[in-house]
């Protein structure tokens, strides 16, 4: 259980700046997700924490002490690599036992630990395999995971541990990880590009893009109060709807208008930042759009362009004039292309963004 602090971390590879000044605090025993698209710097950050990459500037502290002077083999960290990085010339058993052998554990202790972690990950029957390359993708992933979990280090670093698995398997493993964290009670930093995974698994999520952490918050806050446009669009499935338009102050409050529609804004706390006649971007989550709503303010007629019926929800693509929006409705709805439906956009659920900076206005 170690508290990890990262201060002003910078790392460049030649002309490319992978990390531009990362600040992050992970409480001891917490599971924090590092969420970001490919190339955001997640792997680089994890490798710096592990010690296999040396940062150009900044500091990394474990329980208040800098670890930059400690080489990776003495940092007491376990890392899962996105590419699995299994040792091809060793058997499955030897792969998993390697970290323990390097730390000079006794043969009996090694055997017990390896067998225990193999049981838990349901790969005990694979321990004798001499050649890891004959394993299936899912099996390789679990062997790599076993190697990571076989010790009890200060910090666990997981780099996209389940990205390469089938959709169904990924779903199951998400739950497994949450369970694993409760059992291990260790500090875990988990990198992934999939926000659903990050939300399912972590207590707090750090959204990273282009080497900078944009927002570090709980899943609910990231959803409800994204700090900027990128966070808002990156999180949420389907992607949040964004429209560009003009805000005008009317008698009854602020109004957002595009060529196709006028939306009355509710009490969203942005009023102080708005200036009459300025251009802004308005965002509304597909889940917040009400379908088949009764007629009132902010109700519009829309045509259905597509309906994706996924079982527990239906994603509807709507067309209102020249604007295309997505909305989500519970269950399997019988919408078909061409149907007309009345929708409602709740004025108090919208989020406004400054066009130039992309910052949210609250």
């Amino acid at each position: 259980m170690t508290r990890v602090e990262i201060r002003g971390l910078k790392k460049s590879f030649g002309p490319v700046q992978a990390l531009k000044g990362i600040n992050l605090e992970v409480e001891s025993g917490a599971l924090v997700a590092l969420l970001g698209p490919t190339g955001a710097g997640k792997t680089t950050l994890l490798k710096c924490i592990a010690g296999v990459e040396e940062p150009d500037a900044g500091d990394i502290l474990f329980d208040g002490q800098s670890v930059l002077g400690t080489p990776p083999w003495r940092r007491d960290v376990a890392m899962f690599f996105q590419t699995y990085a299994l040792y091809p010339h060793m058997s499955v058993y030897d792969n998993i036992a390697y970290p323990l052998k390097e730390r000079k554990w006794g043969r009996e202790d090694i055997d017990k630990s390896v067998k225990a972690v193999a049981e838990k990950l349901r790969i005990a029957h694979l321990l004798d395999r001499k050649d890891p390359s004959t394993l299936s993708g899912g099996e390789m992933q679990r062997v790599a995971l076993a190697r990571t979990l076989v010790r009890n280090p200060r910090v666990f670093l997981l780099d996209e541990p389940i990205s390469n698995l089938d959709a169904k398997l990924r779903e199951e493993m998400r739950t497994e990880f949450k369970r694993l964290h409760r059992e291990l009670k260790q500090t875990i930093i988990y990198a992934t590009p999939d926000f659903l995974e990050a939300f399912a698994v972590a207590e707090k999520v750090a959204v990273i893009k282009d080497g900078v952490i944009l927002q570090y918050d709980t899943p609910i806050n990231l959803m409800r109060r994204p700090k900027n446009r990128f966070v808002a669009t990156f999180i949420g499935s389907p992607t949040i709807n964004i429209m560009r338009g003009i805000v005008r102050r009317q008698a009854h409050g602020w109004e957002f208008s595009t060529t196709s529609l006028k939306i009355q804004l509710g009490n969203i706390g942005a009023s102080s930042k708005l200036s009459d006649g300025s251009e802004v971007e308005l965002a509304i989550r597909p889940q917040d759009i009400v379908l088949e709503a009764p007629k009132n303010s902010n109700s519009f007629k829309a045509k259905i362009l597509a309906a994706e019926r996924l079982g527990y929800e239906t994603i509807v693509t709507l067309s209102l004039g020249d604007v295309e929006l997505k909305a989500v409705s519970k269950g399997m709805r019988p919408y078909r292309y061409g149907d007309e439906v009345t929708i409602n956009i709740p004025g108090d659920r919208v989020i406004l963004f400054d066009v130039a900076s992309g910052e949210a206005m609250y």
Binding site: A200, G311, Y312, I315, Y337
Partner: protein, 364 residues
């Protein structure tokens, strides 16, 4: 646009039986999805239909023509793979035009068709670019444009979205319905992602270990899965399977759930009548969103406690426990539940499946 028929296809690779007597029919103009986990045989079946493999036994028909021995080009099919297939030395326009070079009669005809395909895939602005100037997501759109621009008899897609980032996958996925409608051809689409299949297919064929499990529309497969595997594989979050004991009390059928029990509807009672003596080894299949929880006691509900909560953004996946039974339910993020709380779970009777645990067949 043809009707594709694969009859009794068996394919054996040395010692592995990849496909075991699989027969599938795709009516013309239909969007058919081959769905299954890795190793289920869906890719092998697709390759046999495309002509990239020959079956060990069985035949493939396009309309009434036996095409089993024909090569892919002889079959006149268009294919899109997981990775974009772009000629890097040509720009996007030429890439798409190349696909129909032999078909077009005039430059004008070519220009019209390329523009139509580009506008359908929303890539008009990239027509002049070369492959290193374009994002991966757009490249895949170009690959699709190259396929649909042709007058092919069948369009085959091999997991075209699986290598895209989530966001790109979503946006392209929702456009597939429109693309199919505009092109109007026979589409065969392979994927392991059941969300994709549910979202865009007219009909889905689920494979497992080389055997066809069920063929039907998304509705049919979702609401009436024929066996435990189909019920498990389709639907996200995964369906709950609960061991149960059935009891008939005063002409009402009850199923035990953990320490309590619920009443099953008339339909279930009817279906189980023929199995009077075999009420053993039964499982209930209930989808997480067919379960709702209430903090106050409700009739015909299961008292249980909250074991843990998984946040999925706007919804919560709540795991509930009652006795030895554990199941998950989907609820709104706003719901005020905490771990350890005592709640009452209500099951939507219309959507409960009764499964024979031994044969793994769904009874109702």
């Amino acid at each position: 646009m043809v009707k594709v028929r694969a009859e009794n296809i068996t394919k054996i690779f040395k010692t592995l039986k990849a496909l075991d007597n699989v027969s599938v029919t795709v009516d013309h103009g239909l969007f058919f999805c081959l769905l299954g986990p890795s190793g289920s045989g869906k890719t092998t079946l697709m390759r046999i239909i495309a002509g990239l493999e020959t079956p060990t036994s069985g035949s493939v028909f396009f309309d009434d023509e036996d095409v089993t021995d024909l090569s892919p080009s002889e079959r006149n099919i268009a294919m899109v793979f997981q990775f974009p297939s772009i000629y890097p030395s040509l720009n996007v326009y030429d890439n798409i035009a190349l696909a129909i070079r032999r078909e077009v009669k005039s430059k004008q005809d070519e220009r019209e068709r390329v523009r139509w395909a580009a506008s359908l895939l929303r890539i008009e602005e990239h027509l002049n670019k070369r492959h290193h100037e374009i994002d991966f997501g757009i490249l895949q759109r170009v690959s699709i444009a190259k396929a649909i621009v042709r007058n092919a008899r069948v369009f085959i897609f091999d997991e075209p979205l699986s290598n895209l980032d989530t966001k790109l996958r979503e946006s392209l996925r929702s456009e597939f319905q429109r693309i199919h409608r505009e092109v109007g051809g026979t589409f065969i689409y392979v994927t392991h992602d059941q969300l994709e299949a549910m979202a865009i297919a007219d009909r889905i064929g689920i494979l497992r270990d080389g055997r066809l499990q069920q063929v039907g529309s998304p509705d049919e497969i979702y609401y009436h899965p024929v066996n435990k595997f189909v019920a498990y594989f389709i639907g996200s979050p995964t369906i709950n399977f609960i061991d149960t004991k059935l009891k008939l009390v005063e002409s009402k059928l009850y199923a035990s759930v953990g320490d309590s029990h619920i009443e099953l509807g008339e339909a279930a009672k009817f279906a189980l009548q023929s199995r009077q003596d075999k009420l053993e080894n039964i499982q209930l299949g209930v989808r997480p969103h067919d379960i709702s929880i209430s903090t106050a006691p409700v009739s015909d509900s299961i008292p249980c406690y909250v074991n843990y909560i998984e946040s999925l953004g706007t919804v919560l996946l709540v795991e509930l426990k009652s006795g030895s039974a554990s199941f998950k339910c989907l609820c709104d993020a706003g719901l005020n539940v905490r771990e350890g709380m005592q709640v009452y779970a209500v099951f939507n009777k219309e959507h409960i499946h009764v499964i024979d645990a031994e044969t793994e067949m769904v009874i109702i």
